[in-house]
Symmetry: C4
Subunit: 205 residues, 4 copies
């Protein structure tokens, strides 16, 4: 398959992923962005400012591994958060940034992290094989300086065990996977678990 | 393009907007109304009493800049709230009045205004470029006398900085934009932010 | 139009109403029932035990004004609640009995009635033209003896002003209208208002 | 009808059931599994690891009455919970295991069981003919050792009256029926009732 064929195929998958994610209400207005790494290392990523439930092929652009535009289109300011993940994790092939209500509320209700324990659905996360796991989702302060925010994420990853996702306060979350399918499975499972934790927050058990 | 062509195109966009807004549950029963300003200054607006998820071309009418019917159809009682916005803001081309649950609850839980701060999604509002903004959404008392209600809105606008929307207590909200697309983006973002604030209301953080 | 043509048209409308009501989640499992009065006084009503989101023409039957089957099909046990309303209100042409979550919760949270005030959406109810109305929705205890339950409803109606709907505890609600369209508008508006009241119940304002 | 025809028909019904259940949000990520007993005693069941809203015929496999694969495909680890139910209840023809938010929350809010009383919708459960019934849904601790978990369920069933469903903590619930249609009716009714109980939990009545 030529590079161009691969790009078209991936763009179609990102468009379909956007429709699915929007149907759940997880990318309101023009929020969110999604990417997939191509076999030659370039990254297909959604452009800035489009509604993610109404993407067209021209709304998917190509950047290099450092986030520089390869086709003249304007990448989202947050492209650097995608490329940082690809640089750190060689087996990651897809990164999703939804902007869901529950991730937004999470950062208001929990301080520095959410802890997910004793949920069977944790097994939907890669390399987790029992509900008796303790999964930490760090919450980082929002920052319009994406380079500085990326450095905060990098510093966290340097000093902690592998994570499956992180939340940016008031700004949704990032998750990723070894395929777009796996990243979507992570997204759907985490959104469910975030909602569980938020519904249980403050409830007398 | 002739005026008639433009009207038909705009009517189609309003019908599609109505289906989208209704699919979210934001215009229950026959509530809500929507309008777009045509290039010659006339305003295409939904007629009174129709379900906004089931609009047909004949349910879109034309009024002049003062809200007088230009085609014999009966305008909604609230047409004056639309024309007031077009008169004040020359660059506004679309006004949307959804009647959502969260806007309705907002007026019961917050007194005179909602304050939205520290949300990335604020950047979906026009001319906002950081989550570190403080956005005020005023809440006005409901009034069946629309002329009096319009005067209250006018008085507020005369004495405050520009706003992106206002809530009428027990009666949904108004938002607008330099295009129908922008007004829809404002609607979707504000509804998300209203839900965040309502979910956080009274929660021990 | 022949009687048979009218029945087929009405059956089609009831099937479409069922799909709409089910799409909102207001008739879970095989709950709920709907009817329309034909021009000759017979009543088209959903049969017992079918899923209201998946109705077919054969799931709509005919009863006379007293609820006796006219076509050998088995009417729902609650048919008498429909025919009682048609007998009392000569201008009522449609009765809807959804079984929504909010109506079910309402009966647990409020004692004998719900009071709806200061909502613009009250104007979606027939003969209401201002939000400054006070609408009472009585809540009756559930009873498997439908004849006895119908007598309780009749007694209430004999001694109170006209109402737009009533709730049966743990059993959804009944609403009606001068057309199926009006009954659907009542249903959608009341469900919205019930949700408002339930969301506000116990919230510190 | 040949066995192969029956299998194809049943597989189609399981695929449709999966789409319906997923449309409600009750099988997030790749959670949940469903089965139907064929007329010759073999069991058609969803394979491990697929999204239940996107099932294809190849995702439905055949196991014998003890849960052993009959076609070389890998059965879900939880197959034993299905076959245990078929062994105990000769008239059960379908078993559904959704993984809904409300079932997941239920196990956190209620200790050993949920009690459902005074709901008309209890009549959607087989052999229940009045809302004045008291239905107990036991909650079992989650366990990655499915054989041990199946033994706990068996022990409970040996010492209690017949039940319509059971919850596994943090892991959704199991329900069943004399047909797939009945099992789906049970699922829809129970999910509604679980949501009622959870919404009422901790609310001052």
């Amino acid at each position: 398959m030529t590079n161009q064929d691969e790009f078209k195929r991936i763009a179609g998958q990102l468009i379909a992923a956007g429709r699915f994610i929007d149907s759940k209400g997880w990318v309101p207005a023009t929020s969110g962005n999604f990417s997939v790494r191509l076999s030659d290392g370039r990254i297909a990523i959604t452009v800035s400012g489009k509604h993610k439930g109404q993407l067209e092929t021209e709304d998917i652009m190509l950047v290099d591994g450092d986030g520089q535009s390869l086709d003249g289109k304007k990448p989202s300011a947050e492209t650097l958060l995608h490329t940082s993940l690809y640089q750190r994790f060689p087996d990651v092939q897809a990164v999703l940034h939804p902007h869901s209500l529950h991730a937004t509320l999470a950062a208001r209700l929990f301080k520095d992290e959410m802890v997910l324990e004793d949920y069977e659905l944790l097994k939907a996360l890669s390399d987790i094989d029992t509900h008796q796991s303790r999964i930490v989702i760090p919450i980082f302060a929002n920052d319009q300086n994406i380079r500085r925010l990326a450095a905060v994420v990098k510093n966290y990853l340097d000093h902690h065990d592998a994570i499956h996702a992180y939340i940016i306060a008031g700004h949704g979350f990032y998750t990723w996977g070894r395929s777009l399918e796996e990243a979507l499975r992570h997204l759907e499972a985490l959104e469910f678990l975030f909602e569980c934790e938020i519904r249980l927050h403050g409830v007398k058990k």
